[in-house]
């Protein structure tokens, strides 16, 4: 047995950095996603603070107009693609296999590839700061503004190529979680017994695999226009100036649900635990999520009410947009029903979950206001819209993800986070959030356009803007408290034990942190609340004396996902080099393409479980 374990670990030192670099373990990949997303959260937050300093008073000159454009573009892009999505992916990775009773995802190496593509794509895009050409055209990059004759620097190219690399990784993750959830469930884990978080992960993954190809097409066509002289967005060649807007928002609106549904799943798992009763209306919550996702593909043009689409199109999209509020309302009432009559415990995860519900409600209501076309015509491109989407994406997504961090931190690290610091964090973040974003509604109604870098003193916006800036710094302090709490709790937090919250779902049946193989014996599930409805030991029988760790074949670490991600990213980078220097670009493209191709072949012919391990285990039996 000892030899077998030695062979299993032979290629790598499991405690060293290489164990993380070559890992295919969904839990480690989840942690990598989470840490990377938090780093980008700080970066995106700093970009926001720069904007708030510039706007604190009228006619300030903290940064130039050009820098301000880079700040709002990269703040939006960073928060969406490098923070909320990967933070969601962090929890998909860590939790989904645990919640469905699997030992890993369906494709562990593909999972590693997704992470590396996300990381390298993010680095590629942010590298533009060092060349002085950071993207500066707004996160939705409207063509023809982004065409070569209007955006002459390589800023748009960095944005396209970074997003393209990240998008491939996101697609791979989408496929992985669809297959994992459909096909890797433990015996008895029927679809309608799955935790709601897993359900929402499944729905989000479907959204990803159907929405991301559309943005891939949109940015590929833009890249071709910019680099190879095609005419897709060239008005002088007869192109339709709205083509980009349609393609972008066909992706962009489902993307909104990609960002919010994970948090809805998180809250649906947290509320029952701290209300001490099962989720009210489980089936309707699940179906509402599916309906939201489905309708989400039919509302994209509500981002375009001011472009003059004609009455019929505008009316249809207005009605569809209002319709999507119905399943969302169903969810909110179910959450209230879950708490009704429960013995509620106001622990930190619960506070953030309640913060999510209240703030998301406000954002949802201002969203319905946008569905009313005459009102939207006034609100378009004002701070009212900025207030709206921060209520859903920060008040919604980020509050949900913060709740998830407090809730599952004990499972991930084996230690509890501090309750008192956590409550301080919540109070600061809740107050800071509302101080920052609630006044923006008023600024918007008063006519302050989004994305302006300064304003005149006689507009009457100065006092409100100062309040917003103060609120932004309160949020910054709350994030510092959050970071301190995580670092401190990871070192000296109270040991958590398997199920510190008395929760009902499967991930709480095993040790914290879990073994690398998750379940010593694959559990059999008999209800939606396995840990409430049954004695804990029927879910995960105590390890039997003869359970031999070496007999559990876990996939072996691999270099190829990392090298393939490097190859793909360098191919993307070579296009940027090619624009400056043709020969250098082609050479780099050929070399990195070869690296990618070799990695694919080596990956394909490399067994998932290293041969030595499989043979060693076979010999052992």
């Amino acid at each position: 047995m000892a030899t077998n374990i030695a062979i299993l670990r032979r290629p790598l030192d499991p405690t060293g950095a290489w164990a993380w670099i070559t890992t295919v373990d969904h839990k480690k990949i989840g942690v990598l996603y989470g840490l990377t997303a938090f780093a980008f959260f700080i970066l995106g937050g700093v970009e926001a603070l720069v904007m708030r300093l510039q706007l604190a008073q009228a006619d300030l000159n903290v940064v130039s107009a050009a820098t301000f454009n880079q700040m709002f573009t990269m703040h939006g892009t960073t928060m969406i693609f490098m923070v909320v999505m990967p933070a969601g992916a962090a929890f998909f990775n860590f939790l989904v296999p645990l919640q469905i009773g699997a030992r890993d995802v369906a494709f562990p190496r593909l999972n590693a590839l997704s992470y590396w593509l996300f990381l390298f794509g993010s680095i590629l895009m942010n590298f533009s700061f060092f060349t002085g050409s950071a993207p500066d055209m707004g996160w939705f990059a409207y063509a023809p503004l982004t065409a070569a004759n209007f955006s002459t620097s390589s800023s748009v190219d960095y944005w396209i190529l970074g997003l393209q690399v990240m998008g491939v990784g996101t697609l791979a993750a989408g496929f992985n979680f669809v297959i994992t959830i459909i096909n890797m469930r433990a015996p008895g884990m029927t679809l309608m017994r799955m935790p709601v978080f897993t359900w929402m992960t499944l729905i989000v993954s479907f959204l990803i695999i159907f929405a991301f190809p559309v943005i891939t097409v949109a940015i590929t066509l833009l890249l071709f226009d910019r680099m190879f002289g095609t005419n897709f967005y060239d008005i002088t060649a007869g192109a339709d100036p709205l083509l980009w807007q349609h393609l972008f928002w066909v992706f962009g609106h489902p993307e909104v649900y990609i960002l919010i549904l994970p948090s809805m799943g998180i809250v649906s798992d947290i509320l029952p635990t701290f209300s001490r009763k099962p989720l009210f209306g489980y089936v309707t919550i699940v179906l509402a999520g599916a309906v939201i996702a489905f309708l989400g593909f039919g509302v994209w043009a509500h981002h375009m009410f001011t472009v003059g689409m004609g009455r019929w199109a505008t009316s249809a999209f207005a009605v569809a947009t209002m319709a999507i509020a119905v399943p969302t309302g169903v969810k909110v009432f179910n959450w209230l029903g879950t708490m009704y009559g429960g013995s509620i415990q106001f622990r930190t995860p619960m506070l953030f979950a309640l913060g999510f519900i209240s703030l998301f409600m406000l954002g949802g209501l201002s969203g319905v206001m946008h569905a009313v076309v005459p009102v939207d015509l006034h609100q378009q491109d004002t701070y009212f819209v900025v207030a709206h989407f921060h209520y859903v994406l920060f008040g919604g997504s980020i509050f949900g993800l913060t709740a998830a961090t407090y809730y599952w931190f004990p499972k991930i690290t084996g230690r509890m986070m501090s309750e008192s610091i956590g409550k301080t964090h919540f109070a600061l973040m809740f107050v800071g959030f509302n101080l920052t974003f609630f006044p923006m509604h008023f600024l918007g109604v008063l006519g302050m356009p989004r994305r302006i870098y300064t304003y005149a003193p006689d507009m009457g916006w100065s006092g409100t803007n100062m309040a917003v800036t103060i609120g932004a710094f309160v949020i910054a302090v709350s994030i510092a408290v959050f970071l301190y709490n995580m670092v401190r709790s990871a070192r000296v937090g109270q040991p958590a034990g398997a199920n510190p919250w008395g929760a009902a779902t499967l991930e709480w049946s095993i040790e914290s942190p879990p073994h690398h193989y998750n379940f010593a014996i694959v559990p059999t599930i008999r209800s939606q609340h396995p840990l409430w409805d049954e004695e804990a030991n029927t879910v995960e029988p105590p390890p039997l004396p003869y359970v031999d760790e070496s007999s559990i074949h876990m996939p072996s670490p691999s270099y190829w996902p990392l090298l393939l991600a490097m190859g793909v990213t360098l191919v993307a980078g070579s296009l940027l080099v090619w624009q400056a220097h043709a020969i250098a670009g082609l050479t780099m493209g050929a070399a990195s393409g070869a690296l990618a191709l070799i990695s694919v072949y080596r990956w394909v012919f490399e067994p998932a479980v290293a041969t030595e391990v499989a043979e060693g285990a076979a010999a052992h039996h």
Binding site: A102, R103, D104, V105, A106, F107, P108, L171, G174, F175, V178, I179, I182, N183, M184, R185, M189, I209, F210, A211, F212, P213, V214, T216, V217, A218, L221, F224, F228, G229, T230, N231, F232, A237, G238, A239, D240, L243, L247, V250, A520, I521, V522, V547, S551, I552, H553, M554, P555, Y601, F605, A608, V609
Partner: protein, 217 residues
Amino acid sequence: MQYLARSPEAEHATTTGLNNRKLLMWAFLGSDAMFFGPLIATHLIYRTESLQGPIEEILNIPVTTISTFVLLMSSLAMVLALAGIQQGKMGTFRFWTAMTALLGMVFIGFQMVEFTEFAKHGLTPRTNLFGSTFLTLTGFHGAHVTVGIIWLWSLFFASFRGKVKQENSLDVEIAGLYWHFVDIVWIVIFGVIYLVGAFGVEDRVLEGAHALAGLGG
């Protein structure tokens, strides 16, 4: 000892009983359909919007009908290749796999000739909207076929090293799913881009609709 068999990629341990990689290919094809969808839609929106240069009249229907037939026959060859390996007939598998790949290469050859002819008549991706959308759409389709050809030759040569055999005929089946999908996309392109483009079906449908509206009024 049932727990011993449960490794993440073990084929018999899935919830649905379907293989993970096969499901992955189906999911990918669904996603890939959403990739071709916007490309086809963009072409249809722009098909008569070009301000200069040649448009649909440049399409050569007879020649493309031949290349379409070639690609369709490659799907038949793919089916026979899969049947071969499932029955353990390696010779049959190798013959029809090579045939599939060769027919695919003939198709790509036709496409290269077509693109060259168009360039001679002054149609490149830079010329006008038609050139941009048509060549990008069919170019991406050609890239898909090329990936399929590389994949098929990889299976062909791997079979001599014992890496592809009856037990893992699933590897061939998955490649076949991809190949048939790329074939189906071409059927759509041939119908919607070439035939509609050449015969102006859309205009006739519109005329018919107007006539009906006239009757109703």
